[in-house]
Symmetry: C2
Subunit: 244 residues, 2 copies
């Protein structure tokens, strides 16, 4: 019994020091890649650095990843995952509001704020998650993008409670995500980078308000919609044509 316990403890706690064989090098490399991304963004995610951080020879990494591109894809996946988890945690930490409309709208704003704050608090992870290259689609759908799944649910809720008109529902995830993502980028690396924090806060608040307004009961007349759509390009939808 005691011996069994000891053996289990060894298996659980000391796989890294078994010497020659690592035991779980693939996961160790994935975590190392994420750590490098956190500290220095996508450019810091290199095969050699990840191997170094995992305490292993560069060659060893090639047993588990085909090469640099695959390792970077892994890093991106890790970063996206952390972003999604952060948002989900924040949402769950909030008590439900009695009024369902209040609740749904509050949740959407919370998700947006958390998204932007994550970008500013973890720039390396955020930049890596949305960096160019690497494959981000070769994962099972459900964990491929928790963020997206969350957004879909939030907007469905807004429709269910009667705040978001059904005719405005299509692609609403995209519009909401775009506003938050763009603001995060502008604050992080763009022209709003060096602006003082209170201005950043106000920018966040006002942008989230505009998103809420854009999804609310406010309407454009069909005529004005036409004007916007004409300017918006070839593939524009005829949203007023099929009212729920």
């Amino acid at each position: 019994m005691l011996m069994g316990v000891n053996i289990d403890l060894m298996k659980l706690s000391a796989p890294a020091k078994r010497g020659y064989h690592h035991g779980d090098l693939r996961n160790a490399l994935a975590e190392s890649a994420a750590q490098l991304a956190r500290e220095g963004g996508p450019e810091s995610v290199t095969v050699r650095a990840a191997a170094r951080l995992a305490g292993v020879t560069p060659t060893a990494a090639y047993r588990h990843y085909a090469g640099h591109e695959e390792l970077l894809a892994e890093a991106k996946h890790q970063c996206l995952h952390q972003l999604g988890e952060t948002i989900e945690r924040e949402l769950r930490a909030q008590p439900a509001l009695p009024d369902p409309v209040h609740n749904a709208l509050r949740n959407l704003a919370t998700a947006g704020r958390t998204y932007i704050e994550f970008a500013l608090a973890e720039p390396g992870l955020f930049r890596t998650a949305f960096s160019q290259g690497g494959a981000i689609l070769d994962r099972p759908v459900e964990d491929r993008n928790t963020t997206f799944a969350i957004l879909v649910a939030l907007l469905d809720e807004l429709v269910a409670v009667g705040f978001l008109a059904a005719e405005h529902r299509p692609m609403a995830e995209v519009a909401a995500w775009s506003a938050c993502h763009g603001l995060a980028m502008l604050l992080l690396d763009g022209p709003l980078r060096d602006v003082p924090q209170p201005v950043k806060d106000e920018a966040i608040g006002r942008t989230l308000l505009a998103v809420g307004r854009g999804f609310g009961t406010g309407k454009l007349t069909p005529e004005l919609e036409r004007v916007v759509l004409d300017a918006a390009g070839p593939g524009s939808p005829p949203p007023a044509r099929h009212p729920g």
Copy 2:
């Protein structure tokens, strides 16, 4: 006279082949940097490559730029400039609409569409313009960001014609820019990267519609504004407090 003319022609047309001295190497390097950015994004902008493209030794570049960081900053500036110019050209190419509200709203949507199309048509320039690092604020304000100046004017116009309520004007540039920038990023490098073109077109149309709606006559009740603001974080503005 004729001699004078010939000398002028030589000065204008053949400075590159004067042999030892280049004549206008700084500008040549700036253009080379932009060219590299266009073809391969910010990572391709290197001192050596720019010198190579300008037909000059790497060392020569150090006569004109302190080092790699300064050259990259120059590249960013060039890219931002091209983006601004593209939008301005597109706006100017449109005939004014008789109805001033139509006109102002159409202009905003056009600017947004052009912005996104530029990102998709010139990914290298776009990525470089908004890449991390380098200084983007050490330029005179007016040319530092034509895009921003254009947006400010467009939104002022929306207020002037009575479409955008004065109380929604503050930071409206930020909200509008964020939506377009975010959508461009999501389409270019994000989860919408591999989506078919018609879907992209619809995403653009619907997002621009949402922006228009967000700026339009639609309203959130003060109560709902409070809900959003509470969730939006510490520095949120009290916009309904000071109605024009």
